[in-house]
Amino acid sequence: MSPNPGLLKLDLAIRGVSLDQSLRNRRDLFHEPSVRGPIARCLELVLPGEVLVSAPADEAFTADSPYRLTQDAKGFYLETDGERSEVGIVAPPSYYRKKTRAGTPMWRVGSSYGPYIAINPASRCAFSARGSHCRFCDVSNQGVDRTEPISVEDVVETVRAAFADGAIEFVYLHIGYIEGDDSGVQFIEPYVRAIKRHFDTLVAVQLQPPREDRWIDHLYAIGVDAVSYSIQIHDEHLLAEMCAGRVEQVGRQRYYDALAHAASIFPNGTVWSDLIIGLEPAESTQSGIDTLVAMGVLPVLSVFRPLSDIDLRDHPMPSIEDVAPVFTHLFKRVLEAGINMNWVRDLSFAVTPFEARFFADSDTPIPSGLGPLYRSKLGNMAVRNLSKLRRRLRVRQVSDSYGSSNL
């Protein structure tokens, strides 16, 4: 077994984990992939170094995994090549078994991943409705059976239950593509406002770029603390081939322009873009990292996994040798650019620059950093309040400007 938690996370994310016979029927350990796309039926593991990983298990491609999860009276262990190391398992929170007052099972509303709850309240991604969905995506398929969006009340109740479980620290709302100039900002606004009204928490939002920058300002003004417009693939031609909707409906350049504008509005380190590693050549992903970093945007890398219900189910998986240098590059570039890595961290299904520190060259100095502070209760509270203060300072309502000349 590799002692490097970063490498281990990556390897587990790619190859998954096979289960010991005694664990095969332990449904209580599994997190149902009810919401987010490129993940399979997963176990949420806590590796040494408090690194979270969403490790596929029980999928066809995990049968050959060199990793095996076992359990004894003391805990869970990950075994490979005769070595064994203790890991934690984040059991599915109890709110998954509850229902909202309207009768919606809460597991259908939100899923916990590490410190946050991910919620996709929209019905169906408009790309998939037009037959131009991203080929690596299974979220677009999942929306088919939901004709109505999830109600704001259901979302609030589920988030309340998740907080009551002690399962989460912040809320992550994501929608696919919603047609219109705002690309879904107005759709997501009541959810953001309701969450901000009921809970003292940070809200991150992932959606597609709006046509005009003023909607990005709007998103910040209504209380969104972190935002992502994920380009996913940097290579122009491959993006057009893999994500026809993104290119045709939004336009590749618009992703970068919107990200650059968002980075000038939101706090340092709170604007991120996912890049999928394993679909395009490593050099292309690195070039994508450079482009994003240059505009102050945090690249987050998720490793491609050929899930059984996506178009690319037969696409080969990347090897660890291919992807490790990309993470080294990621950490180095983000560090050089001085982008704060502490906001977007601890994602179980992707590798953040914060976690990419495990891939750092020996000549790259690793700052002792604020990681532990951000993770602490006190640090979390400080971050929330600073975020609120910053917004109060920066956002003005236009109607206020008329005040002085009213008489």
Binding site: D182, V185, Q186, E189, P190, E212, R214, W215, D217, H218, Y220, A221, I222, S264, I265, R390, R392, L393, R394, V395, R396, Q397, V398, S399, Y402, G403, S404, S405, N406, L407
Partner: protein, 479 residues
């Protein structure tokens, strides 16, 4: 759902924003410090203790009004609270000044204007005038100027600009005038702003500052003006300033020959849409004409406020308006502001503080009546560019009445001497809501208006001072 245009994200460095946000608490504290300083540090043996305290309250209010530390009306409420608390006036007297006739006149004028706006009568009037004038670009521009100026004789200039603004937005959209470099667009909005400002000084209805000045005058001296007297005194200024403003507008913003047939079409379409005059509009028009005639011919006999309120009662009795129609149009804040300002003016006079202040400022700087008039009018024009014109009147009126007595000037002349120049704001958006609206069109930038605005101010001061010395004597003012 809030609109995206409703938010602005300020991306300047955070330390600048922090400093900016600290401005209000710091200014609040400075105001309190000023109050304490006047009470404790100012040695004024020739001032009564009440006068001393009134002066401290006045200093605090002036500071808050000038720097917009609190909304104007809240500062006025503060004045009303402080006057009895500091023993300058008994509470009963301070609050009773809210019952000033001027306050009720304003209330009546607001309700009448609201009825005109809500019924669509004022909008119809505007469209009819525009459809008569708007055949070529210059005629359209002139039409807008004259429309705004004349309507401001009968309604507050703020209401007139608010009514014309959406029509102009439609006209500029129909003409496809680019916001960045369209002199015609600039001229149209400027004709709206300057037209209503210049027309607004002609009568007691054009702006609320004239009734405020009258309110303070009446509380302090017992004197007042009739509707006709005020109009006769000021219409020559409005006429001559209109001509000057027109030439400045045409000189600084040459418009070429844009095709305005689309604008004409837009106006005609709007007229078609509103159809024939309704019974409600006819009733309001008749009542309004009757009210103006009564103000002119019987104003002194019945009292301006009485006539205004009687007209309001009549409108309701005839079923031409409903309370909910007018509720939103009445500027209740302004009424609060006036109550406080009149109380403060009266307190300054009764306590001797106004006289003391006049002694130590204008009276000691001025060499004679000519310089007094020049100083007061210049101060009024400068103050009104930087703050609400009501605040400028509230600050200058008590002081000016006291100065008048010291220079043997008729205190009655101080009301138009302060209120008229205080209504002439031609440059900054903060000066008057009409300017703020013109800027919000996107066609104008402050730098476009600095030179033409200053020139117009200069001309206005010269004309006004000439009228004071050569025309006002016809009304019995002796110097």
């Amino acid at each position: 759902m809030s609109q995206p245009n409703n938010f602005v994200v300020d991306t300047r460095p955070l330390w600048i924003l922090v400093l900016q946000r600290m401005k209000q608490p710091v200014l609040l504290m400075i105001g309190v410090g000023l109050y304490v300083a006047v009470r404790t540090l100012l040695v004024a043996t020739d001032l009564s203790p009440e006068g001393h305290r009134a002066l401290a309250v006045f200093a605090l209010c002036v500071f808050y009004w000038v720097f917009d530390v609190l909304p104007l009306m809240i500062t006025s409420i503060l004045a009303i609270i402080l006057l009895p608390l500091t023993g300058v006036l008994p509470a009963k007297e301070a609050y009773a000044l809210f019952g000033s006739e001027a306050v009720f006149f304003i209330l009546g004028a607001f309700i009448l204007a609201a009825a005109m706006m809500k019924s669509g009568l004022s909008g119809r009037l505007a469209l009819v005038i525009l459809s008569r004038f708007g055949h070529d670009p210059v005629a359209l521009l002139r039409g807008i100027f004259i429309l705004n100026a004349t309507m401001s004789f009968f309604m507050s200039e703020h209401a007139v600009a608010a009514m014309t603004f959406p029509i102009l937005v439609e006209i500029t959209a129909a003409l496809h005038l680019p916001a960045s470099r369209a002199n015609y667009g600039r001229s149209l909005f400027l004709a709206m702003a300057w037209g209503s400002t210049i027309g607004g000084v002609a009568t007691l209805l054009g702006g609320a500052r004239a009734p405020l000045a009258l309110g303070i005058l009446r509380e302090v001296t017992g004197e007042s003006y009739s509707f006709a007297e005020w109009a006769a005194l000021n219409i020559p200024l409005t006429l001559s300033l209109s001509v000057a403003a027109w030439f400045i507008l045409r000189t600084f913003f040459p418009i070429g020959t844009p095709d305005v047939s689309k604008a004409e079409q837009a106006v005609d379409e709007k007229l078609m849409k509103i159809g024939r005059m309704t019974l409600q509009e006819r009733i309001i028009a008749v009542v309004m004409l009757g009210t103006i005639a009564t103000w002119i011919f019987f104003g002194e006999h019945f009292g301006l406020a009485n006539i205004a309120l009687a007209a309001v009662v009549l409108l309701f009795a005839l079923g031409a308006v409903e309370w909910r129609d007018v509720e939103g149009y009445v500027n209740w804040g302004l009424i609060l502001m006036y109550g406080g300002a009149i109380s403060l003016g009266s307190a300054l006079h009764k306590s001797g503080a106004a006289e003391w202040l006049a002694d130590h400022t204008i009276s000691s700087w001025a060499s004679g009546p000519v310089s007094v008039v020049l100083m007061i009018t210049t101060a009024a024009v400068m103050l009104t560019e930087m703050m609400s014109n009501s605040a400028a009147v509230a600050i200058l009126m008590p002081l000016s009445i006291a100065v008048a007595a010291q220079f043997d000037l008729d205190p009655k002349m101080m009301a138009p001497l302060v209120a008229v120049p205080a209504g002439l704001s031609f440059i900054l958006p903060i000066g008057t809501p009409a300017n703020a609206m013109a800027y919000s069109s996107g066609y104008l930038r402050v730098r476009d208006l600095i030179l033409p605005g200053l020139l117009l101010h200069g001309i206005a001061l010269v004309i006004f001072n000439c009228l004071v010395w050569f025309y006002w004597p016809l009304f019995g003012f002796k110097y």
